[in-house]
C-alpha cells in the first residue's frame, strides 16, 4: 500500500510503542477463572484450592511447617487420571469422611477426606457454570448455576432428590450465591435461593415449592447470601445496599437497604447482633441488626482503602479484614478503628476468598495459592509453609 514510502525507524518505533502499550493494557485484566473458595477446616486439617486446578489437604502445625496430606486430582490415584478441575468458588463441604465440592465447569465431586480418593463418581450433568455451593441440606446437596438452574441431589449417588427435576428447577436469572439451608422450628426444611436478577426465594426442600407469597425483590443482583439468625437473612446486593430480610415472610426490615459505597459481594462476620462486612469501595461496616444503623460506637465505616470481596473473621474483639490489595487489616470491634497497623501480603496475588477463623489466627488464602495466618495480637500475617513428601 505504501510502496516506496520510507518511514524512519524512530517514527515507526514511536508509532508502534503506544500501539503495543495500548494492546497490553487492553489485554491485561482478562484472566481465566481463578476461583475464590475459602479454605475448609476440620481441626488443624485444612482443605483448600492451592491452585485453580487442584484441591490440597494439609495439617497445620502449631510449630514448624504444615504437613502435606494429598492433592486432588492426583493422576496416580485410581479413577483420577482423567479428572480435571477448573477453579472452585463455593467452599467445600465436610460431611463425615467425605468432602463435597464443585468446580466452575459444573462438576460435583465427593472425595474421601482421609486419602483424597474419589468417594463417588463425579456428577457432571450440570447445565451452566457454578460459582456457589454446594450447601449440605440434610442428606441432600443443593447448588445453583449461572444459567439459573437449582439442583438438589441426594448426597449418596448424586441422583435427583425426590420432588426435584433432574435438570434442576429453572429460574429466569443466574444463581451465583450458594443456597442457604435452614431447618425450621416447624421441623420442615427450607432453601433460600438468591438470583442475579435481584430475587430471593424461600423454597421447601421437600418439593421445591415457594413458601413466601412472593419473592423478595431488589433492583440489583444478589451475589451472596447468609443466614444471620434463624429469623433473619443478610442480603447484600450489587445495587450498593444490604437488606435484612425476615425468613418468615420475605419482607425486609430495612426496605430501603443499608447503603454502601459500592457493590457488596460478601458474607458478614456476625457477633452480638452486629454484621461486619466490606464493600468494593474499601469501606468496612458494622451493621447493627437491632437499630438497622451503623454500630453506635463506630463513628464511621472503616476505610480499608481497597476493594473488599472476602468475608472478614472475628477473633475476640478484633475484626480481621483482607482486601484485594492484598492487605490484612485488624479493626477494633468496639471503636471501628485500627487495632494494629495493616499488614501487606507481599507477592501473593490478591484475596477474594473468605477469611476463616482458626485457633486465634484466621487463615487468609490468596489467589496465588498462599495461605497466611493473620495474628491479631501481633498484627503480622505469616505464610503457612507446607512440608511433606509432595506438594
Amino acid at each position: 500500500m505504501l510502496e516506496g514510502v520510507k518511514i524512519p525507524r524512530k517514527t515507526a518505533a514511536g508509532l508502534l510503542l503506544p500501539a503495543i502499550l495500548v494492546l497490553t493494557a487492553a489485554c491485561g485484566g482478562i484472566k481465566n477463572p481463578e476461583g475464590w473458595a475459602a479454605p475448609r477446616l476440620d481441626g488443624d486439617t485444612t482443605y483448600y484450592f492451592q491452585k485453580h486446578d487442584h484441591l490440597t489437604a494439609i495439617t497445620i502445625a502449631s510449630q514448624g511447617p504444615a504437613a502435606f496430606l494429598w492433592n486432588f486430582p492426583d493422576k496416580n490415584k485410581p479413577g483420577q487420571k482423567d479428572v480435571s478441575l477448573k477453579a472452585g468458588y463455593g467452599d467445600p463441604v465436610i460431611d463425615g469422611d467425605t468432602l463435597y465440592f464443585l468446580d466452575y465447569q459444573g462438576k460435583l465431586f465427593a472425595v474421601d477426606r482421609r486419602d483424597g480418593t474419589l468417594a463417588q463418581t463425579p456428577f457432571t450433568a450440570i447445565k451452566g457454570s457454578v460459582t456457589g455451593g454446594p450447601a449440605l441440606a440434610g442428606d441432600k446437596l443443593a447448588f445453583g448455576t449461572t444459567d439459573g438452574h437449582l439442583y438438589v441431589l441426594d448426597k449418596i449417588g448424586f441422583t435427583p432428590a425426590p420432588g426435584w427435576p433432574p435438570d434442576g428447577r429453572t429460574f429466569s436469572d443466574g444463581i451465583w450465591s450458594p443456597p442457604v439451608y435452614q431447618k425450621g422450628t416447624d421441623g420442615k426444611e427450607y432453601l433460600y435461593v438468591a438470583t442475579m436478577g435481584g430475587r430471593l426465594y424461600k423454597l421447601s426442600l421437600a418439593d421445591g415449592s415457594e413458601v413466601w407469597s412472593q419473592p423478595f425483590k431488589v433492583s440489583g443482583a444478589i451475589a451472596d447470601l447468609a443466614l444471620l439468625t434463624p429469623d433473619l437473612l443478610f442480603v447484600p446486593s450489587l445495587n450498593k445496599n444490604v437488606y435484612l430480610v425476615n425468613t418468615s415472610d420475605g419482607t425486609a426490615r430495612n426496605p430501603d437497604g443499608f447503603g454502601a459505597g459500592d457493590w457488596v459481594w460478601t458474607t458478614p462476620a456476625f457477633k452480638d447482633n452486629v454484621a461486619y462486612y466490606g464493600d468494593f469501595s474499601g469501606n468496612v461496616y458494622a451493621l447493627d441488626i437491632t437499630t438497622l444503623q451503623l454500630k453506635s460506637t463506630w463513628q464511621r465505616p472503616y476505610d480499608a482503602k481497597s476493594k473488599v470481596k472476602a468475608a472478614p473473621a472475628i477473633v475476640d474483639n478484633v475484626l480481621v479484614v483482607a482486601t484485594r490489595e492484598p492487605q490484612v487489616h485488624f479493626i477494633d470491634l468496639n471503636t471501628g478503628a485500627a487495632a494494629k497497623n495493616s499488614f501487606k501480603l507481599a507477592n501473593a496475588g490478591t484475596v477474594r476468598a473468605a477469611v476463616v477463623p482458626h485457633d486465634g489466627k484466621p487463615l487468609v488464602l490468596t489467589t496465588s495459592g498462599k495461605l497466611f495466618e493473620a495474628d491479631p495480637t501481633t498484627g503480622i500475617a505469616t505464610e503457612v509453609v507446607v512440608g511433606g513428601p509432595k506438594q
Binding site: M1, L2, E3, G4, V5, K6, I7, L15, P18, A19, L21, V22, L23, T24, A25, A26, C27, G28, G29, I30, K31, N32, P33, E34, W36, A87, Y89, Y104, T131, G174, W176, M196, G198, S219, G220, A221, L238, N239, K240, D262, W263, W265, F280, K307, K309, R352
Partner: protein
Amino acid sequence: MIGEIFTLVLINPMINFLIILNNVLFGSFGLAIIAFTIVIRLITFPLTLRQLHQTRAMQSIQPRVQELNKKYSDPKRRQEEMMKIYRESGVNPLGCLGPMLLQFPILIALYYSIRQTLPESPEALENLSTHLYSWGFIQNAVPLKDTFLGMDLRDTNLLMVVLVGLTTWAQTKTTVSVSTDERAKAQQQMMTYMMPLMFAFFALSFPSGVSLYWVVNSLVGIAFNISTYGFPLLKIEPIFKPKTPAAAARRQEAEGNAARAGSPPQGSRGSTAAHTETARELRTANGPGRSKRQNRRRRP
C-alpha cells in the same frame, strides 16, 4: 499510565454505553453489540472515508509510481521523484495509515469492552465494577444476559467462526488493490485468503460476542467499501466520490485548455494518460524526468 488513560477515556465510556444500549434494546446484549458496533463505525466514518479515498488516490498514481521504479535505479532519486508525485497529486502517503492508526485503539477498546462486559468468569464480573459509572440504570443491569439467538455469547460458536471468515474475506475482496506490481498483486491475492483464515482461527478462541462484533464490523466495512469504491460485479456505483484535490482540478482545467488549443498543457502534471504521455515526451527531450527549465536551473 497509558493504560489508565486508555481505560478512562475509551474503555469506561464504551462499557457503560454498551450497558445502556443493552437496557434500551430489551436487555439483549447481542443487539447491544450490533448497535454499538454500527454506532462506533458511524462515528469514525469520516476517518474511514478519508482512508478509503487516500487508498483510491494511491491507486490512481500507481502507473506513474511504476514508471519511476523502472526509470530510476538510484533509490534516493526515486524517492525524491515519488514524493513529488505524491505532492502534486495531493496524496499523503501516510494518509492511509493515519486514520487506520487512529482507529486502532478504538478497535482494541471495543474488543476489550465487549470481553469485560460479558463476564467470562466471576473475576471478570467482579472487575467490571471498577469500570461502571455509579448510575443505578447501569449498576442494576449487571450481570447482563449472555445469550443471543440461542448462543452463549461467552462461548466460542462454530457458526460465528465461519461467519468471521466469510465476512473478512468479503471485506478484503471489496477493498481496492493499490499496487499494480504483479508480485505485490500476488501477495495481496494471497492475503485475500490468508486474512479470513487467520481471523477465523483467532475466532476459534474468541467468545462469540467478540466474533459477533467482528462480523458486524466487517459487514459495515463492506458497506463502506462498496459505497466508496462501488461494486462493478453488481454494477453498483460509488456513493461517496473522492474530493478532487486542488492540483488535480487545476490540471484537469489545464488539460482541457490544452486540448482546445491543440498544444500540450503547460506546467500540468497528473495521473491521466494524456499527462503521462506529455511527461514522457519531456523526459525524452531533456533528460530523465527533467524539463528544460529544470536542467537550466541545475546546470547554469
